[in-house]
Symmetry: C2
Subunit: 471 residues, 2 copies
Amino acid sequence: MMNAHANLALAALAFPAHMPNSKSSHIRSRRTRRPLLPLTMAAHPPIRTNIGMSTHGSASGGGEQAGISSTDRFRMIDFHHVEFWCADAASAAARFSFGLGVPLAAESGLSTGNTAHASHLLHSRSGSLALLFSAPYAQGDAVTASVPSFDADAARRFTADHGLAVRAMAVRVPDAGEAFRTSVDAGARPSFAPAELGHGFELAEVQLYGDVVLRFVSHPDDTAIPFLPGFGSVPSSGATPDYGLTRFDHIVGDVPHLAPVAAYIAGFTGFHEFSRFTADQVGTAESSLNVVVLANNSENVLLTVVEPVHGTKRRSQVQTYLDHHGGPGVQHLAMASNDVLGTLRKIRGRSTMGGFELLPPPPASYYDDVRRRAGDVLSEAQIKGCQELGVRVDKDDHGGVVLQIFTKAAGDRPTLLLEFIQRIGCMDKDENGQEYQRGGCGGFGQGNVTELFKSIEDYEKSLDASARLAA
Amino acid sequence: MMNAHANLALAALAFPAHMPNSKSSHIRSRRTRRPLLPLTMAAHPPIRTNIGMSTHGSASGGGEQAGISSTDRFRMIDFHHVEFWCADAASAAARFSFGLGVPLAAESGLSTGNTAHASHLLHSRSGSLALLFSAPYAQGDAVTASVPSFDADAARRFTADHGLAVRAMAVRVPDAGEAFRTSVDAGARPSFAPAELGHGFELAEVQLYGDVVLRFVSHPDDTAIPFLPGFGSVPSSGATPDYGLTRFDHIVGDVPHLAPVAAYIAGFTGFHEFSRFTADQVGTAESSLNVVVLANNSENVLLTVVEPVHGTKRRSQVQTYLDHHGGPGVQHLAMASNDVLGTLRKIRGRSTMGGFELLPPPPASYYDDVRRRAGDVLSEAQIKGCQELGVRVDKDDHGGVVLQIFTKAAGDRPTLLLEFIQRIGCMDKDENGQEYQRGGCGGFGQGNVTELFKSIEDYEKSLDASARLAA
């Protein structure tokens, strides 16, 4: 029923291009996994998707284990890494390593025989979180590249256009070549044809949105290779602090028009609609946006797509992103911790010396509401911790609780942010009796979404020159 | 006598384009302030300079106080700042702030009404050291720029060409317009005509080498403006640690041919030759370079220019720089501390978590020699500290001692390095009886130069792919 519904929703994926200027900004505590409102027709006609016609989902899908959905055209095991294209990858990697407490784990460059690009990989010891930063050398031999899809000229244009930005969102799949071919057969625009990297590694890319690519990586379960062939381990990585970030929870892209992008992604992946929020549900009093969350079968790969809503009092923050980024792109990376309060205290401790700054807390009354809604799951100490750090709290219908907070802009521009998240509850057992947490536990807290986007709006107001100068 | 000599040396500034492959790599302990060897004619004829014809030196010069020299065409009060052009200035500034312990002190950008560039200023509380990092926004209004010479398209090309690199070396002068006009009259190539910034600030630029500019900044002694008009103070800066770096000691540029560049700079500034090293003096067993240090009258603004020597066993590290940087540019920034061992311990403590890595120490026997040469000035504890950290030690004829160390490459490429330096001794009194340290005290330690460049050579060997792969 859910999949049929999701398919239907995607096939007719639609948001009004202009919403009436009557946003509700109060907190809603119910997790939303279905459209709550009737959807009007989009200004952009939906792209036809192949959902429901897949013959790959059951053949290669792995989501059945979770028993949630089975529409995937090919199995996505998990997020593998995210790659930033940089002008100087060393500085960006160093700053993220320090600010987020994710150790520098592997490198590729002149010292490994790669004259095409300098790459620095951060990898958490607490989990699988992997952040790759790459930059072109002045003059390199492309055939020596460790990431074969690296394109020096494209990277130079990319950083000139976008500043600090994500080029690739990589997922691990059982067979990158198969994932690529299946995707392209189902309408994906190819970006980089499958390439064997040796040692059983394969890599391919399709376009995602803007100039961001979805990268497929496959490799043996048991490998001694650090990250990808051509990378060398960093000996000192063991000495670096790890603040407890474990993996990507979800990755969010801002686009001008949501419907065609969501339909495109769902079309070639087979992803189902995990959640959606319309302007009426998550808009603040002054601006708004529409959101769709797409998920693989096992709901551990969550891709969110957001579009601006126009005609509101303030310009949509999504439009601000699009203007300053220079088109569609990754707006935030949500990274999970098993102890997000502990992780945040460490991250905050580095804020004023080059780390990342957290958005300020909501008013104290917000946490009175948290006590009412989630006091049965969170201890008073935890709620106080959330208040101290400004963490937003929401709870879904099944008792799952989600803790979330955003940083201020990670780079120069009001574009890329980071989110830290912890999901509590929703424990299940797989067929082997192993406990696991259902993906997306606690949902995307509609109340949180409103609160989080409101906090970004407040932050953007602080960047408003006229407001600042008038103050 | 010295100035006459310096003028003569500059007028005929000359290094052989090819030196015989017979470098001496042993340590020389004597400070060198005169050419030790007869100079052969350069492959490039010297550019005629106006040294000795200046009418500005005595009119606006302030170096007379130190009584060292009086050839300056206009007074340079001190280094003012260095500006990096970046694709993402936030990451670079954050990394330098954390890695070097220099607090983020001021910013300009959207929040201050500057839509042209995002700029982050690091400024030491221990002194006057100022590092500026700037990047273009996607679409900005150039007239809102706080640094009026900022050119978004040029900045994008600059970062694409060079990666992490210095765009501007700024000196404070009594009158930026006058410095600019005097320089241009004396042969400087103009880059940015004098502009009034308000509040008594003025800024102008002439070309230095490659696409690096020499920026003149003038402002009232007593001003409440943080850095430049258009910048806002960063409130949290007081909470950030300061590791004790105080100022730029000297700034080094790598160029293909030293003679014309040194003659050009000396020609429009009136700078005298402070020191020089030829390939025979500072070459390692395998490669070499020629060095000239130029100084203003008071020898607190020291500009070093270096050229490669070809035909040696290994390619000159200067040529490596030129290839990877993509032309001439700033090769290292030497930053002073009044307690370099304490500063270095803090810098080293951040090395493995995103800071800067120091080059490894020389063999223990090196420090036996240090005991002999400088044991009368340095305590045994200090010498042990130098050994622990890998600090090189040299001593000049007047008992001045200099402690120096380099970092590994600061960014992705084997180009920009950082140097940390402490000069001990050479205390003098000015006409008011105030004690001050004579500029360049301890000299440029010819032995140190050899040692330092050898350590870079060893580091570059570690980047040599074939060496690494064969190991």
